[in-house]
Amino acid sequence: MSKALLDLVRAQFADSVLETHAQHGDETAVLNPQAWHKVATFLKTDPRAAMDMLVDLTAVDYPDSDPRFEIVAHFNSLTLGHRLRLKAKVGNSAGNEAQIASLADLWGSANWMEREVFDMFGVVFSGHPDLRRILMYPEFVGYPLRKDYPADRIQPLVPFRDVPNISKVAPFNQHEGMSFGRQVFDGQHGAAHGQGDDADLFPPETN
């Protein structure tokens, strides 16, 4: 449907479009991250593109590849009725130097979506007016949607109650609640200490 648009972008930015593909009628252009803002400005301002809506902006973490993060933006034109997806890869395998230009000056919706990507993945959007965490709290250490963030690590804002076996407070039994605990991470001591010591609640089965 927007094949013509994709051809247009490819013709206009031949040296910045690294790759294009289409699936189920949705065209995608993978860009050089340096050209991110330039191509977005074109999509917004050119009457043949007229992308007046930034539908979504998010990121994907591929921990084994370099660059590691793929920034994905979905554009829609309400006037012309076509869509386009842009992608750009940033950041080294350690997760550092993940930086890309902000689109908040072009679409207002980019403001919060870029803050979310920053919050969850640690990608820095240069030129963003107010780049700080949006979902997590400022005390949070690390970026939870990175694949190397431990799945069982929590960072409580208030200390847990001083009760033995707090991970399984009464009256739960073996088939209620969760059978596993979580690791508490306080940010200072680095190492996590176990909260999931359920040994006395789950004695080894004797048949």
């Binding site: 939870p144 804002l157 847990f160 739960f172 969760m178």
Partner: protein, 209 residues
């Protein structure tokens, strides 16, 4: 007067009409009297954070009618309420707010965990959520369900009232009326769940011994 089933009913009956059933005087003790008054005048603070709130609205609206139990008056100031309904997922970010609200409530106070998320976190086993409000504040009644049926909530409220009357501080869970894990009539073996089947075998062994 029909048969009085429980000790509490007897106590209550004694408090109202006296053990002889006659008129003229009441015998009770102050603690029972206070507990009786407290359990029928619960002022609730709804701490509603998620989808369970819809079911909470159902419980409080006329069809299920929470006010039958004297617990209908919401007070949106913790200082004027004595029953804290925690309805929905508690995120780590919400936890300090919940804790402060609990601390602002005057004694005596009770806490009900409404739904699976508030009780134990449910499937929100992730970086953002608290695995049950009892990690932060003490809890009296756990009502499981995602969300719980209004009937389960009423069960929970009656359980709490019973605990207030008997001054039993231990927490309790609302059990399903028809639990496939304990009711053989529900055809547990046909479910084919290995866990439940194992439980059943254990029960069978116990009864053999």
């Amino acid at each position: 007067m029909g048969e009085l089933k429980t000790q509490h009913e007897k106590t209550q009956h004694d408090a109202l009409v006296g053990p002889a059933g006659g008129d003229g005087f009441v015998t009770t003790n102050l603690k029972d009297m206070l507990a009786w008054a407290q359990k029928y005048s619960l002022f609730m603070y709804p701490f509603v954070t998620a989808c369970c709130g819809m079911e909470f609205m159902g419980v409080t609206s006329p069809r299920y009618d929470l006010s039958r139990f004297g617990a209908e008056a919401p007070r949106f100031s913790p200082r004027q309420s004595d029953l804290l309904w925690v309805v929905g997922t508690i995120t780590q970010r919400q936890a300090p707010i919940l804790k402060r609200i609990y601390e602002q409530m005057a004694e005596p106070k009770w806490v009900v965990a409404f739904g699976t998320c508030a009780s134990c976190g449910g499937f929100y086993d992730n970086y953002a959520c608290v695995a049950g409000l009892d990690k932060i504040i003490p809890c009296d009644i756990y009502i499981p369900g995602c969300p719980p049926r209004p009937e389960a909530v009423l069960d929970g409220l009656m359980l709490l009232m019973d605990k207030i009357q008997s001054r039993d501080p231990r927490p309790a869970t609302v059990k399903p009326r028809n639990d496939p894990a304990v009711d053989p009539a529900l055809g547990l073996s046909s479910l084919g769940s290995s866990d439940l089947v194992r439980l059943r075998r254990k029960d069978a062994k116990k009864s053999d011994a």
